[in-house]
Amino acid sequence: MKALTANRLLDGEAVFLSEGRWVERFADADLFEDDAAALEAEAHAKTQLTVVVDPYLIDVIPSDAGYAPLSFRERVRALGPTNKPEHGKKTEGGEGIEALLHATGAARSKGRVELIRRK
């Protein structure tokens, strides 16, 4: 299962595709079971030059309390920095945040790999 993420051009915020819009909460992200649909969404996102920067697909897994990105890096993006409890999306709380906090999966982040490849 995959979700589509990017950074918003205007402020750099980590955002996720949800029903054609870009939203800040991972819990609201569209989850793609079909790889072809996911790739199509990614291709379309890459045309949204004035909206988002560097869109890419991330792997998503079920956690104890919902769904979460498989990669720890992507969970940090979806939650905010772990060194400051008062900063980032985690401060909103709620079930979606709990799901991210309790996820334990691990995998290399495609976002980082692609970033380094492009460097």
Binding site: D11, G12, P81, N83, H87, A106, A107, R108, L115
Partner: protein
């Protein structure tokens, strides 16, 4: 302090106006991200995990009160009310919006600041000994030469498209508080036996994926030839540096492949051809820059202060005096270290309120000077001994009086995976966990000088290779692991750390540090530092302590 003149101010005004227009074109879709990325990076604006990050240049780590107040204003108005001082003595703001960036650059320009030379394949912001102008052991004030290099390198057309980024550090003290052995060019200013001022020139040091200590290619370059000689080095690098492979593009790889002697020969040949008079700084210009850093306003005072000694009756102040107060070249004055390493906090972070307090203390007690050190701390370089207790009291009230300079809790850590797009693993929480373990100041003092340096990836922004204990975050199939090295140092007798053993999971790291410290305390002789004991006994007992029972 050097103040920007009309040329500098006009240059900054042009630059910020240009960037405002470029941002507008990007937001309007007239520039693609690929086109815009280089432009924003040339203005210090990176895109990270949660937001844009603005890296603001602090040339040779020197700030006035007005500048520090402006940084506080920007942090409060456009960020989340704090900033992060880095190992390159810059300030990073981690929550910046693209739409605000042009306004921020305008604010910076008002106080002679900018974000130029904080990214890209050019000569980056020049760093120098943070004790410059205050320490008795320097041959000259290195800021004079660092400022000359700033003016020479900024927008230098020949060096704006180098094979890779390029970093220069200057020291004039044998103690080397500028880590010159691990810079692309390290400059060590000294006087030769005839009393002539000159630079020992080191080239090809660096950390990252392939760490090297820079070899000396010239033992004594007459100081007046600094610019022409550096031009020769840059030309050799521009000509022969690898542009085909990102990982082999730094000058350290070129120097290693040619060997120091071969590289030096190329430089000398290039320098021989150079019209030195056309490149080197005219004496009048050097005198103009020198005048900006001339000592002024020091009073004639007794070498000791009754008030300072009396204040030591308070054990907390006495501990601060032992670790955070350093001798000054002028009798009756001291250099005061402000630690940004309160255990549990993020190393190098400073709130807007703290910046404002330090600005005020700098203006009132330190001749309007504040310095940033590559250890991610701040310094008040010129405090009267009579005033140290008052400064301490003010710092104490703002949680800035942690008496741990050089001790185990004075940890260097890069932003790591909590912020940085390139990181493999987090660095800050590891630093926080270690610092909490040793937060008892008496314990930290008993352990003595011990530099822990943590990087979240192989790019080594946290200088892990030169930590007495170095910690490198690695990615093992997406999980955070940490490789420990021992015996590194960036000081005069610099050394690269040796790998202790297999990488450890995050939860094991603080315990491993504890085990390393136990071995040190058991083995140390007399007044040995951790580094001295390690150099004497070697890796084996430390390895045994951490990995015993692991097999």
């Amino acid at each position: 302090m050097y103040r920007y003149d009309a040329i500098d101010r006009e240059m900054l005004a042009d630059r910020t106006a240009e960037f405002r227009e470029q941002c507008g074109r990007r937001l309007a879709g007239e520039l693609t991200e690929d086109q815009f990325k280089r432009i924003r990076l040339m203005n210090g604006l990176y895109l990270q995990l949660h937001a844009y990050m603005l890296r603001i240049a602090i040339p040779y780590g020197a700030l006035t009160g007005v500048q520090l107040r402006k940084l506080a204003f920007i942090a409060r108005t456009y960020d989340k009310g704090y900033g992060h001082f880095t190992t390159r003595t810059n300030l990073q703001l981690h929550w910046i919006k693209l739409k605000d960036a042009p306004d921020i650059l305008d604010h910076l320009a008002e106080v002679g600041m900018h974000a130029i030379q904080t990214s890209g394949n050019d000569i980056r912001n020049i760093t120098a000994d943070p004790h410059a102008g205050a320490t008795a052991d320097e041959a000259d004030d290195p800021r004079i030469w660092a400022e000359a290099l700033r003016q020479w390198s900024t927008f230098h057309p020949e060096f704006s498209f180098l094979p890779r980024k390029f970093k220069i550090a200057v020291t004039a003290s044998p103690a080397d508080r500028a880590a010159t052995k691990v810079y692309d060019i390290g400059l060590r200013l000294h006087r030769n036996p005839d009393g002539e001022l000159g630079f020992e020139v080191l080239v090809g040091g660096g950390l990252g994926r392939t760490p090297y200590l820079g070899p000396t290619i010239r033992a004594h370059l007459p100081a007046r030839h600094l610019l022409s000689y550096l031009q020769a080095i840059m030309r050799v690098y521009n000509r022969h540096g690898r542009r085909d492979n990102l990982w082999k593009a730094r000058i350290k790889v070129l120097v290693a492949s040619l060997q120091a002697e071969g590289f030096a020969r190329e430089v000398e040949e290039e320098w021989e051809k150079t019209d030195k008079a056309a490149v080197d700084l005219p004496d009048t210009e050097l005198a103009r820059i020198r005048a900006a850093f001339a000592p002024r306003g020091f009073e004639t005072l007794p070498a000791t202060s009754a008030a300072f000694e009396a204040a030591k009756a308070d054990p907390a102040f006495a501990r601060f005096a032992r670790h955070n107060v350093k001798p000054h070249k002028i009798p009756g004055y001291a250099i005061v270290d402000i630690s940004l390493k309160k255990p549990g906090e993020t190393p190098g972070d400073c709130s807007a309120e703290q910046m404002e307090l330090i600005a005020e203390l700098g203006e009132r007690y330190s001749m309007d000077e504040v310095r940033v050190s590559y250890e991610q701390n701040l310094i008040l370089p010129h405090v009267k001994l009579d005033d140290v207790a008052a400064v301490w009291k003010a710092l104490h009230g703002a949680e800035l009086a942690t008496p741990n300079r050089g001790l185990i809790t004075d940890i260097i850590a890069c932003p790591g995976l909590d912020y940085c797009s390139l990181a493999n693993a987090r660095a800050i929480p590891i630093a926080q966990a270690i610092a909490r373990k040793f937060e008892d100041p008496a314990l930290a003092e008993q352990i003595g000088e011990l530099g822990i340096k943590i990087s979240g990836c192989i790019n080594a922004c946290g200088h892990h290779h030169v930590g007495a204990i170095g910690i490198l975050g690695v990615d093992k199939k997406g999980e955070e692991f940490y490789q420990v090295t021992l015996g590194g140092s960036a000081e005069a007798e610099a050394s690269l750390g040796q790998i202790l053993g297999p990488a450890l999971p995050a939860a094991r790291v603080p315990t491993a540090v504890d085990q390393l410290v136990e071995v040190y305390l058991r083995e140390r002789l007399g007044g040995e530092r951790f580094l001295d004991t390690f150099r004497r006994v070697g890796l084996a007992p430390f390895k045994e302590a951490v990995y015993a029972g692991a097999h």
